[in-house]
Amino acid sequence: MKPSRVTIRSYQVGFGDCFLFSVHYDNGDSRHVLIDFGSTGLPEGVPKTRLKAIAKDIQTVTGNKLTAVVATHRHKDHISGFATNEAGTASGDIIAKLQPDLVIQPWTEDPELEETATAPRARRGRKNLSSAARHVRTLWAMQQVAAQVWAEAKRSRSLRPEMRAMLGFLGENNVKNLSAVKNLMTMSKNKKKNKYVHAGTSSGLEKLLPGVNVDVLGPPTVEQHEEVGTQTSWDNDEFWVRLAAADRTSPPSGMSAKPLFPKHVVNREKYRFPVNARWFIYRAKRLRGEQMLRIVTMLDDALNNTSVILLFRVGGKSFLFPGDAQIENWEYALAQSNVRKLLKSVDVYKVGHHGSRNATPKTLWNLFEHRSADKHDAHRLTSLLSTMAGKHGREDNSSEVPRKTLVSKLERESTHFTTQNLAANDLCFQVTFDL
């Protein structure tokens, strides 16, 4: 059997990713790979039951069988659809019933690694950890911090509404999504069918997808990362572990924080602070908001950089799915000459991180040889974007997602599809590539 056609369904999940990559063979057979399934916010008019509707659509389209599931990284907007419920009726339960033969996740999700990394002794810094486990411990700590920031943002009455919205979004997106994580770990029944990959490892997909080559371009391991000489501020493992343990005031969400010195608190008249202190209090509150935002942004970037980057090559066409990988993840791949060569001939590009400014490095974009301003160019690059404006980042510092300058570049130099053009009742758009 030979591949004859590839279809990609890009589901409308608002801010999030959900792609169904299907290879159709000349004998009528089809194999399906689900790449991410999550959302952190739906556009107006889209029913709240959207994720379940998508799961059912996937069930129908695939004829009750998924070949593989790829969860590029553990952000809510990529995995919330895998969440289950007790009744077994959630979108994640439906997906689990499609019995994927393989579940691909980044190496940082390896449960064995997580176990060593987050054992109490490791948390207290009383245990020598491998660099991989240390990294996983950092990520674990970061997620704790995200939960704290989210709680603080929720209970805070002093943040500006836009700041609260941004903090709420990033905080929630970075909080560990327990049931989805567990479902991904167990849905393939056979533990051996869980693959935790890093740059250069085999994906395990070739055997399941005859005639398709799949390269894992990212994420790099810590050793690979150090090889290219990158050291980022967020990779500061002790700091995050301490930060995670630092917040003594964080109460269950919704309640107000306990003061350090209850007997010394100044009583406020009608909630007003004393006149002399007001200017400073205003500044301190603002600063606190900015500071929390920077912290959760760092967490967000760190998790994005654990994204699995997959390159599918089938029948002379190549399809790039980089998850939310940002520059630090890409750097490793882009430093390899053989990878750069492969990337030149990309035909279909799933735009990284919903179109943010850091996820489509110039060095990557400039490699794509099929970029073309000519709309009638038969070999023109295709770009697929799943995003929702007004959720992530802000225009005043050019961090808005999707980044306007990037979108205009995509529109100019590729055949561009975006979920933003879908109507509220459209489930997805499908693009077909004949081989």
């Binding site: 810094g125 002093s158 301490r242 003594r248 350090l260 002399n276 500044r283 500071q291 510092n397």
Partner: protein, 576 residues
């Protein structure tokens, strides 16, 4: 004239306050080591809020304000120290004491700067009073914010080494943390362009200098020196074999490093500990691993600490031996604290002799040497020798434009003085600018670029002969904005990938030191593009900015820089 007390005597100038000598984990016999320090007496309102510092105990995480501490008025006859007799637990449990601790240390550092420079020293932020928040938020972090005119001190849950239960750690109770952040605010007031992106040295300098000031401030307390000396604080004598630089590192500084930041370990890898790990005799300056700004700052700290030990030991030569190779402990302690205090004065004074832009460690060393030569021309105490030797052992040589002895060259050019009035030049930036303008040729300012006088400041200090030495320090800055392609024509290297149409600003500038007769004594300058060395400096600066992503995208450049600072603040907690 009578004062408010109805007498003709002057008001008292100092107030003594109890502080925690280093931090609550630094204990002797299970008791927190304390110190009583002198701070300038002043009129205070609740806070304490004085003429330069205003403590506002607002906690942004809990959104509560704690009651201000009321110290009695500076106009009263006596200033009782409210926490002198309180138990350790009472100190820890009372936010008022935390306010006092932070207030006293900030004021002490400020007074130290003012004494060293012989004038009032402004904060880097606008306004006269710097806000201090002793419990600003639940986060293992402390920093200076120019925009918010404030020092923020966080608190967090921490586990002490060897203990099971966690306890709240207050960064406002750590002497070195408070001194470090205060130094950032003062250095920013003296040289506002040092926070701008430039060379790895300049970025590292803010951190390194703040660490040096903090460590020397801690070491200038008798109580600390006595406690760490050889572990026998109660003996009257001390064996001289403990008093070599090597032995002092092993005993005193190592044990101080161990004590310091026990509860903050992991967050602050302790500047002291990190610096002590750097063995001399290696060219750290050109070592790949020390290009990153936080690591680079450690080089400066290490060179200064080793110099401190040499100076201490040299001072001890003058302390007689009492019996069988033993010296009087009190004198040894006193000399140590004095050496720290003296070196701190030099370290601060040297800032006046540094160029206003693109500072390098080499230039700072030349400034240190010059400061010392002004005071002790014959180097009879061997300070310059100690500095030169120790800095060299870490790969730091004096500036290439300095004299053979490493000090700045005296200006020997003929200047036009007739068009300016020195008495108004002393305080008037317009008049100073006229001087600069009339002498632009003699000062080698070149033909292009925008010039601005940034500050004119008097400096008064007492020379060893008891006479008052007056100087005037002025800073001018030159700016030249060109397209990248134009720079190429000037010989400046443009990094691969930098768009040729991109605007790039080059900086130059100098510090002018005038003697008491209004004659120019020194011009300590980084010229824009006068020499090959200048062109090399500009190339390096642009390459560094390019690598740190400064030019990545014009629209994001500004926010990128904010993020760089955040990254630095984050790492601060690791290197602080």
């Amino acid at each position: 004239m009578k004062n408010v007390l109805g007498t003709r005597h002057g008001l008292r100038t100092n107030r003594s306050l109890t502080i925690i000598a280093q931090d609550p984990s630094f204990q002797i016999d299970n008791k927190i080591l304390r110190a009583t320090i002198e701070v300038p007496a002043e009129e205070l309102s609740p806070g304490p809020s004085g003429y330069r510092v205003s403590v506002i105990d607002y906690d942004a995480t809990a959104n509560v304000l704690y009651a201000p501490l009321e110290l009695n008025s500076g106009l009263d006859e006596n200033y009782p120290d409210p926490f002198a007799d309180k138990s350790d637990q009472e100190l820890l449990d009372n936010p008022g004491f935390h306010a006092q601790n932070a207030y006293a240390i900030v004021m002490r550092i400020l007074a130290r700067f003012e004494l060293a420079l012989g004038r009032r020293v402004a904060w880097g932020s606008s306004g006269h009073q710097l806000h201090v928040a002793p419990h600003a938020f639940a986060e293992p972090n402390a920093f200076y914010s120019r925009e918010d005119r404030a020092l923020f001190f966080g608190y967090f849950e921490g586990v002490l080494d060897g203990r099971k239960t966690s306890q709240t750690v207050f960064t406002s109770l750590a002497h070195d943390v408070v001194a470090h952040e205060t130094t950032h605010a003062l250095l920013d007031g003296l040289r506002q362009r040092y926070l701008e992106p430039s060379s790895p040295d300049q970025a590292a300098f803010h951190e390194g200098f703040a660490d040096i000031a903090a460590l020397l401030s801690v070491l200038s307390l008798d109580a600390i020196v006595r406690a760490v000396l050889d572990g026998k604080p109660d003996d009257r004598l001390i064996d001289a074999r403990f008093l070599t630089p090597e032995a002092l590192i092993d005993s005193s500084l190592m044990s101080l490093a161990k004590e310091m930041g026990q509860e903050l370990s992991g967050i602050r890898g302790s500047a002291l500990r990190q610096s002590l790990k750097l063995e001399p005799g290696h060219d750290y300056m050109n070592d790949e691993a020390f290009q990153e700004e936080h690591r680079r700052g450690e080089i400066l700290v290490a060179a200064m600490l080793r110099s401190f030990l040499d100076i201490w030991v040299a001072r001890l030569q003058r302390v007689g031996t009492i019996s069988r190779g033993k010296k009087d402990r009190s004198l040894v302690v006193e000399e140590g604290a004095k050496a720290a205090d003296h070196l701190l004065t030099m370290a601060i004074r040297a800032i006046d002799y540094c160029p206003p832009v693109d500072l390098t460690f080499s230039a700072y060393l030349s400034a240190l040497l010059t400061v010392d030569r002004e005071v002790v021309p014959d180097d009879r105490y061997g300070y310059r020798e100690a500095l030169l030797r120790n800095f060299a052992s870490y790969g730091i040589a004096p500036s290439s434009s300095a004299d053979v002895d490493g000090t700045w060259r005296r200006s020997d050019r003929d200047m036009v003085y007739s068009r300016t009035h020195f008495d108004s030049m002393l305080r008037d930036e317009e008049e100073m600018f006229r001087f600069v303008w009339e002498n632009r040729r003699a000062l080698e300012l070149g033909e292009v670029g925008y010039i601005e006088v940034q500050s004119v400041r008097p400096s008064t200090r007492i020379a060893p002969d008891g006479f008052v030495l007056r100087e005037t320090i002025a800073e001018y800055v030159q700016m030249l904005t060109l397209q990248a392609q134009e720079l190429k024509d000037l010989g400046v290297d443009i990094p691969d990938g930098l768009d040729h149409w991109r605007n790039v600003t080059l900086f130059g500038g100098g510090t002018l030191v005038f003697d008491e007769y209004g004659q120019l004594k020194y011009q300590i300058a980084n010229h824009l593009l006068n020499s090959e060395a200048d062109i090399g400096r500009q190339s390096q600066r642009i390459a560094h900015l390019w690598e740190s992503g400064f030019y990545a995208d014009p629209a994001v450049a500004a926010s990128r820089f904010a993020e760089l600072h955040m990254a630095r603040a984050m790492a601060d907690r690791v290197s602080l």
